[in-house]
């Protein structure tokens, strides 16, 4: 695939992520903060997000396996995940966290378990999509081109 095709593919892919609600305006804000002096800003922040989210999802799984469920602790973790998802524009994950918190407040274990599964699912989708997008960007750069804004 030539450079122009790659660039077009990237723009289309990115657009689809917004249209399908995976990403929101906040992701655009992140891109606007990237420049020649900070060329890897977006990848760095998103990598931090991946690490942090995986840690939180593990904590959530463990917390929901306990004999006695600590809803306050679970809510604190979900609050964090909601915050970081919002900060990078991971809209679907963020929205699910809102639902999750409602179940925590209602102390509904079944609801929480279901939500956790959904959050894990949405998270893994957005992670895959962002990684694909970053790979496309790398291909473009390697081909000597610039990443379209």
């Amino acid at each position: 695939m030539d450079l122009v095709q790659l660039q077009r593919q990237l723009v289309d892919y990115r657009t689809s992520l917004y249209h399908e609600g995976f990403l929101d305006e906040q992701f655009t804000q992140l891109q606007e903060l990237q420049d020649e002096n900070n060329p890897d800003f977006v990848v760095e922040v998103v990598s931090l997000y991946f690490e942090d989210s995986e840690r939180l999802l593990n904590e959530l799984s463990k917390a929901l396996e306990q004999q006695i469920i600590d809803f306050k602790r679970i809510d604190a973790h979900v609050h964090q995940l909601k915050g970081s998802s919002s900060s990078i524009g991971a809209q679907r994950v963020q929205k699910l966290c809102i639902v999750f918190r409602n179940y925590c407040e209602a102390q509904n274990v079944e609801g929480c378990l279901k939500c956790l599964q959904q959050v894990k699912h949405e998270y893994s989708i957005v992670k895959t999509k962002l990684e694909s997008m970053f790979q496309l960007e790398r291909q473009i750069l390697n081909a000597g081109g610039s990443v379209p804004v």
């Binding site: 804000q29 606007e32 903060l33 760095e44 931090l48 997000y49 609050h79 970081s84 900060s87």
Partner: protein
């Protein structure tokens, strides 16, 4: 009124327990040409300023004579509200109690839009309350507060 020639860079102390949000606020502030120090808790913020967590200040609070605090040159503090241990609100109260630092503008950030929370912070001395995720346009709103604080400083500085 003629302003004396001065460095126009402002130093912002940012406080947030979230690693991602720290990275974000740092980039936002640096993009807006602020000098930035980022810490992950209210107690670290107080430590940076040279204040104790408790009611008593470490140094003598004669602010016109004690230049040590001024040399840190913190011109604004921007803090997350929801933090474990000391909340952003607790930090705000602590700063406003300090004779050395009470004139430093404090801005609070929160992901939750709770009117009673916002009002309480503003009533207790916060200059602005920003909803997360914080944008570049929000950071641009900070400059007037910094300019005002600086010109107030000059107004009372007879040297």
């Amino acid at each position: 009124m003629e302003m004396a020639v001065d460095k126009t860079q402002f130093h912002v102390l940012a406080v947030d327990d979230s690693l991602i949000d720290r990275k974000l606020i740092e980039r936002l502030l640096k993009t807006s040409s602020f000098q930035v120090t980022v810490v992950d808790s209210g107690s670290k913020a107080l430590e940076f300023l040279g204040l104790n967590d408790d009611e008593h200040e470490q140094r003598d609070s004669n602010s016109d004579e004690d230049q040590d605090h001024q040399d840190l040159g913190v011109n604004l503090i921007i803090t997350d509200y929801c933090m474990p241990g000391m909340t952003g609100y607790d930090l705000l109260k602590r700063i406003k109690k300090s004779s050395c630092f009470r004139d430093i503008p404090v801005v609070i950030m929160s992901s939750e839009n709770i009117p009673s929370r916002i009002n309480r912070c503003l009533e207790d001395g916060a200059e602005e309350f920003l909803l997360k995720p914080v944008q570049l346009s929000d950071v641009n709103k900070l400059r007037p507060h910094l300019m005002k604080a600086r010109s107030n400083e000059r107004l009372f500085d007879q040297h």
